[in-house]
Symmetry: C2
Subunit: 321 residues, 2 copies
């Protein structure tokens, strides 16, 4: 884990300025049919239309451009099941530096393609946290590359947090914001920005029931690390980071866990009603919102659709039901 102190609003502002030449201001979409279904006004922040197809580019880009020139030259390294790796490779390319991506076996093919297409060097490893970290450490020793952790990294968290000032400018008077929770980089950055900019707005995280370590950790009052993720949400299998969990608690983020079946149904709704290709790890937010819809009734909800990198040919989607 990278050593750091939590970012504050000024870091998020600085990140926004740093990534502005490279990242997209993503659009906000709405659907009358989905609003009717949810009984709420939903404003979908379309991070699947971000460069690389996921919000991850924001954090990766901020981390890459925050490096001193001497460090930058030796490149960056990370471990990632997909979107963060592709985002880091893409961000490294904007600065013309090498990117090494440690990828566990079993990663989604569409995400591997994105890493290669962005010019990243892929290092395969076993699908365990230990193997990921060992391989990362070896690449660091061999290349001198800087580790850019996918979520327990202040620069990454600040980058992900840039979604919020954008969203608040696009949609005034939100009552609630909901984002997915995996390692916790996205929700941490967003929660910091929201508490500073719009303290009255409620913050919810959505997590797959098959990888609900954040929810369990909040309930037990200590970080749960012995869960074995079992979910179709490939982007949300990571264990919540130490600083990320501390922030969730401190900033009073409520986490909702949902079954994969509900997430797949929500994904189909987003595909058919919003006409957007959304990955399961993003659809989990709509599933969570529909699960406890009475909590959101009549509210103006900012819904962060975090990514759209699915294997459209995968049997998981062919057999979806």
């Amino acid at each position: 884990m990278t050593r750091f102190t939590n970012p504050v609003l000024a870091d998020i502002r600085a990140a926004a300025a740093r990534i502005a030449p490279y990242a997209r201001v993503t659009p906000v979409m709405c659907s009358e049919a989905l609003d009717e279904l949810a009984g709420a006004s939903m404003y979908f922040k379309c991070e699947h239309l971000q460069r690389g197809g996921a919000f991850k580019f924001r954090g990766a880009c901020n981390a890459v451009w925050a490096l001193a020139e001497d460090d930058a030259r030796r490149g960056v390294v990370t471990h990632s099941s997909g979107n963060h790796g592709a985002a880091l490779a893409l961000a490294a390319r904007t600065r013309g530096i090498p990117a090494h991506i440690v990828v566990p076996e079993g990663a989604v093919a569409a995400k591997l393609v994105n890493i290669e297409r962005a010019g990243g060097t892929i290092h395969r490893c076993a699908p365990t946290q230990a193997a990921r970290e060992e391989t990362c450490a070896r690449v660091q020793r061999e290349t001198g590359a800087t580790l850019v952790h996918p979520y327990a990294d202040a620069r990454v968290m600040a980058g992900q947090g840039t979604i919020i000032p954008e969203l608040l400018q696009q949609v005034p008077d939100l009552n609630v914001v909901i984002t997915p929770v995996g390692g916790g980089g996205l929700i941490s950055g967003c929660a910091i920005a929201l508490r500073a900019l719009a303290p009255a707005v409620g913050i919810f995280g959505a997590e797959p029931a098959g990888a609900d370590d954040a929810l369990q950790s909040l309930q037990r009052g200590q970080r749960v690390t012995d869960t074995v993720p079992d979910t179709i949400c490939d982007g949300l299998r990571a264990t919540i980071g130490v600083p990320n969990l501390a922030l969730l608690r401190e900033l009073r983020v409520e986490v909702i866990a949902v079954e994969d079946a509900a997430t797949l149904a929500a994904m189909r709704l987003l595909w058919s009603e919003l006409k957007q290709t959304i990955e399961p790890s993003s659809a989990v937010v709509l599933a969570a919102l529909l699960k406890v819809r009475e909590r959101f009734a009549g509210k103006r909800v900012g819904v962060v659709l975090s990514g759209g990198n699915v294997d459209v040919d995968s049997p998981a989607f062919a057999a979806r039901h």
Copy 2:
């Protein structure tokens, strides 16, 4: 067929003003990855994000609001395998008048749902042109509703043509525009607007090889009506209309026919790269462009994505390959 004279630019301008309170100005999207693949700069006009999920709302809305009050009160009727029917029902609802939609057996379920959701009354019939027309005529007799033909109708053509002034304002200096061809309402309206507003822009139509009656008709110099459509592009099975064919010839529209396999591959590209849910009847344009990519090399191409109403659960998509 409805009696009419071809619309001109003034009719398209009037249609744009008439539908402005109800229709959406759809966004234009781009993809570096798809541009690289095609060797051209493509500007995707996102009519799948139009109300009802297809461009059809433009024409239907223009037809509904062009009716005199006395006629309007008795409602409208049409036959449609889906998108035009849903669009007409939706348009009728904006004016608070009844809509009767004659739907042949075998229509896409997602499109039927859209008709019902918009408050349209569905009349089922056999999947032949004769059965469609007979059922329509019966409903007309019984209700006094006005027929709004899906494509051989000047008000409908003018409505569809409103895409072009929008697109030209969004993207300057286009070299080429390509749209799908079914009955020919979309391409007719667009061709009229383009010849008037940007006469140097090339106009292409894309058609499934399994329903290439427009291409055959242009080649033989007479309207071919004896083809039996066999294509996954459910929105493009109609026979090219008489006035529509005359306009294609007069305005020098070139038609490209593509196999369904290429269309499905193009659809997957649009899903995965543009992150948009596009129906096969729309993906046909990208397939056509890729088929003869040397013709479009280096050009700035306006690509009309006409609709996004697919059954995401349909076996045709589950088994796509």
